[in-house]
Symmetry: C2
DNA sequence: AACAGGGGTCGGCATTGTCGAACGACGCTC
DNA sequence: GAGCGTCGTTCGACAATGCCGACCCCTGTT
């Protein structure tokens, strides 16, 4: 039997986490056999794990259909994570001001599993209906936040670099070499942009939030309609770039100061 | 050795969940020995679980201090839970309207471990700064949401009924018998109130959201300053009570209709 | 009425996680 | 600055633990 390199990754916990991820990915309820088939585990095994997860409130079971879904306890854990998260805490003050000054929505994100996790979101300051995106996961290569995180984060692993890039609009960067080139440009100029590469009609500008050592621990972006955020060359307006970069620097300073 | 009544609650997963709860309760970072002492487990055991939780992103370790805290993956799971949660989905439409009509903040909650979990929160429609309370856990006996859930939920277990009620202000109901009496009144009138029992200066009115069978699966409340929400007898204004009850009934109907 | 498909249960086996002691690093005190 | 205490981490042995796969029951369908 294969023996793990590092000792003691608790198998059942890994499996439980895989089940939770599966339930989160397929938004909706999943049956026992679906889960056991997806993870290639025996039904009985999955059932035992599910019952345990249910008893601690991490999953719930629909009594009529018998299907499983995520449980309420996770919501509380997630919000507790936000309370502890230092990046978010430091970004709170500055992002409000940034949204007010630019008149656009502001989002703060961090890297997770080569995707971008939104940890803070300030609505565009107008009366329009907007949905809170905190907790959402975005593909890194298709949004301004992600590009900055890729550019200033650790180098991608072999496995990551060989995965194809998914396209979302006609201008999403799907060519790996083109992306590498753009990330170089991002490093040179110190900020990233994204014009209709994720959502049609939307553009964004992002800058890195760096902790001691220079590695990016997060990013902050301003996002809004292309016609407001960009000039007539479809390039982000300089004032927005400047303001995002200022906010990012301010937060970086606070993060550094808090620990050193 | 004690043998569990139902077979197969996976021990390591229960322990992992206990660790996560501990990390959530003590907001902040915890050391390995603190955790192992709190749960009365061997250091090595806790370490193995923590490493596994870390590898799946449920906890993070501060590289400088070595202490552990909740991880980013939980945020995503929590927000995924919100996506699936049917109570919240149905409440979305009605709570916005309720907030607009009453001019006050609206919250929707559900029962969890004999406390109240906030699953939706609409800010009071003015420019004041408010913090999102989704994911927060409140004591059931001290808020309007909780009283409704207690009144229309399953009867409390022996263990629950013998726990003392914590006081938060001078008027918090801390006497178990007084609470029972008030819950009876809530059942009679179909709604609950709370005047400065949780936060000084704040009052709230709540009504039950019931699924098929009549059991409350959630509750919705309007919350605001006492002087706005109540009349000069410090009783909630009738118009607010009516509106909350209407919203609750509408959501209940949708929930029932969705399944039957 | 028979069948298919779902969730749930059970007991035996060996894999798996647990324990406790020992290690190395750090920081504090004297 | 040497010693001590504390903390996170590693390791190996043991056996308790959780895993597997066959079996059961129920519901809905053909």
């Amino acid at each position: 039997m294969y023996r793990a390199a590092v000792p003691g990754p608790v198998q059942s916990i890994e499996r439980a986490a895989a089940i939770l991820r599966l339930l989160a990915a397929r938004s909706g309820r999943l049956g026992l056999v679906e889960i056991s088939a997806s993870l290639d585990l025996a039904k009985g095994t999955v059932h035992g794990i599910l019952r345990t997860l249910q008893s601690v409130g991490f999953v719930e079971q629909d009594p009529t259909s018998g299907k499983y879904q995520l449980g309420a306890a996770l919501l509380h854990l997630g919000s507790s994570y936000l309370d502890v998260n230092e990046l978010r805490a430091r970004a709170l003050n500055w992002s409000d001001a940034l949204a007010a000054r630019t008149g656009e929505a502001v989002r703060v994100g961090t890297s997770m599993d080569s995707r971008v996790l939104i940890v803070h979101h300030v609505f565009r300051p107008d009366e329009s209906l907007q949905t809170l995106e905190v907790g959402n996961l975005l593909p890194a290569h298709a949004c301004a936040l992600g590009k900055v995180l890729l550019a200033y984060g650790p180098a991608p692993t072999r496995a990551q670099a060989s995965q194809p890039l998914e396209g979302f609009t006609r201008v999403t960067v799907v060519d790996r070499r083109a992306l590498t080139q753009e990330l170089g440009r991002v490093r040179e100029q110190g900020w990233s942009q994204e014009v209709e590469e994720w959502q049609p009609g939307e553009a964004a500008v992002a800058a890195p939030i760096r902790a001691y050592g220079g590695l990016a621990v997060g990013a902050i972006e301003v996002r809004g309609a292309v016609e407001r955020l960009c000039d007539y060359h479809r390039q982000p307006k300089t004032e927005h770039v400047t303001r995002v970069r200022e906010a990012a620097r301010a937060i970086s300073r606070e993060l550094g100061a808090a620990r050193w």
